[in-house]
C-alpha cells in the first residue's frame, strides 16, 4: 500500500514524517477530508474564533498531490452578551 504524508498547518506547521498507508490517491483524499474537520473539532474550542486548517498531502516521492483548507470564522456580535 502506498504511503502518504499529511502535513498540517493550523497557525503552526506540523510536518508528517511518519505517514499513513492509503490504498490509493482516492483513499488519501478521503483521509484528508475526514481528518481536517476532526482536528478542527477538538482544537477549535480551546482557541480563537478565526482559524484555518490546511492539509498538504505528499506522496512517497514528495510530490504534493492534494491540498485542502477548512476555515472557521466566528464573530461575537453583541458586546453585552460577551461581557
Amino acid at each position: 500500500m502506498p504511503r502518504f504524508f499529511f502535513d498540517i498547518h493550523d497557525g503552526q506547521f506540523t510536518r508528517d514524517d511518519e505517514g499513513t498507508n492509503c490504498a490509493d490517491f482516492e483513499a488519501a483524499r478521503r483521509e484528508a477530508m475526514a481528518s481536517l474537520p476532526e482536528i478542527a473539532r477538538f482544537t477549535l474550542p480551546n482557541d480563537g474564533d478565526t482559524r484555518a486548517f490546511t492539509v498538504l498531502v505528499r506522496n512517497e516521492v514528495g510530490v504534493i498531490v492534494y491540498t485542502a483548507t477548512l476555515t472557521f470564522a466566528g464573530l461575537a456580535l453583541n458586546s453585552a452578551a460577551t461581557s
Partner: protein, 251 residues
C-alpha cells in the same frame, strides 16, 4: 501439551485467586478442567462474528483484538486483550458472538470447553461468582471506553488508553519499569479511538513533543506518568486490579 496445559490452568487460578480468594477445593476443581492450548499467528482469526464457539478463551500470551466491521470496511476495535484476559466469557450464555476476535501479535490461547466450565460453575459457587465478577470488569472497561469515544478529545482518548494498558500490563508483570509493549499500530489506534489515522499520528506527536511518552520499536515508554494520567483523568479503580499489584505501580 501436558505442561502448557497445567501451566495455563495455574495461570487461571492465580488470576481468579487475585480477584476472589479461592479455596483449595476450588483450585483443585479448576485444575481438572480440560483445555486445548493453541498458538495463533499474527492477523489470524480466533472468533468469527456470528459463528458459535464451544469454548471460552484464556489468553496465555500475545495480544488479541475484538472488533465489529461495517459494510463499507470501517472497523471499530471494541477491546484489547493481553495475557490472563478471558475476552469471551459471555459466550457461555450468549452462544453467537456479536464481534470477531483476532490475534494482533502471535498469541497462545487456552480454549476451555463450555460444557466442563458450566459443570464446574454449577458445583463451585465461588468459582462461578469469580467468573461473573471478571465479566463485570470487562463491562466496566467497555464503559470507560464509551465515555472516551463519546466525550474525550483526541489527546484524552490516547492518553487514557496508554494509562489503561500500562495499568493492565503492569498487573500481569508485562511492564519493564515505565515501558510497556505497544504492538498497536497507528491504524489500530485509530480504530480503537474512533479517530482518523492522520489525527492519531498528530496527537501522538504532540504527546511526544510534550515529553509525556516515547514510542519506539513497538515499545511505549511513559516518561511522565503524573502528567499523562492527569491529562487522561485516569482512575484505575474500574479495572479492579489486585491491591498489591495496583499500589506499587501507580505513582
Amino acid at each position: 501439551m501436558l505442561a502448557p496445559q497445567n501451566d495455563s490452568l495455574d495461570r487461571l487460578i492465580r488470576k481468579l485467586d487475585g480477584i476472589t480468594r479461592l479455596s483449595e477445593a476450588d483450585k483443585q476443581a479448576i485444575r481438572g478442567l480440560p483445555v486445548i492450548v493453541k498458538t495463533i499467528g499474527p492477523g489470524q482469526a480466533i472468533l468469527h462474528e456470528g459463528d458459535p464457539s464451544p469454548y471460552c478463551c484464556l489468553i496465555l500470551n500475545g495480544w488479541t483484538l475484538c472488533q465489529q466491521l461495517l459494510s463499507d470496511g470501517k472497523r471499530q476495535i471494541l477491546s484489547v486483550h493481553v495475557a490472563n484476559d478471558m475476552p469471551d466469557l459471555q459466550s457461555l450464555h450468549l452462544p453467537y458472538p456479536d464481534f470477531g476476535m483476532f490475534a494482533l501479535t502471535g498469541a497462545t490461547i487456552a480454549f476451555v470447553p463450555h460444557v466442563e466450565l458450566r459443570a464446574l460453575m454449577a458445583a463451585f459457587p465461588t468459582v462461578s461468582a469469580v467468573f461473573w465478577r471478571e465479566t463485570l470488569i470487562v463491562a466496566a472497561i467497555h464503559r470507560a471506553w464509551i465515555t472516551g469515544l463519546g466525550r474525550r478529545d483526541a489527546r484524552g482518548r490516547l492518553a487514557h488508553l496508554f494509562c489503561e494498558m500500562r495499568a493492565r500490563l503492569t498487573a500481569v508483570g508485562l511492564n519493564d519499569g515505565d515501558t510497556i509493549p505497544m504492538p498497536l499500530r497507528q491504524t489500530d489506534l485509530a480504530d480503537v479511538l474512533g479517530l482518523t489515522s492522520v489525527h492519531v499520528n498528530r496527537t501522538m506527536r504532540e504527546l511526544r513533543a510534550e515529553n509525556l511518552v516515547r514510542l519506539e520499536s513497538r515499545r511505549l515508554e511513559i516518561r511522565d506518568w503524573g502528567a499523562l494520567s492527569a491529562m487522561a483523568e485516569f482512575n484505575p479503580h474500574y479495572l479492579y486490579l489486585p491491591k498489591h499489584q495496583s499500589s506499587q505501580k501507580l505513582r
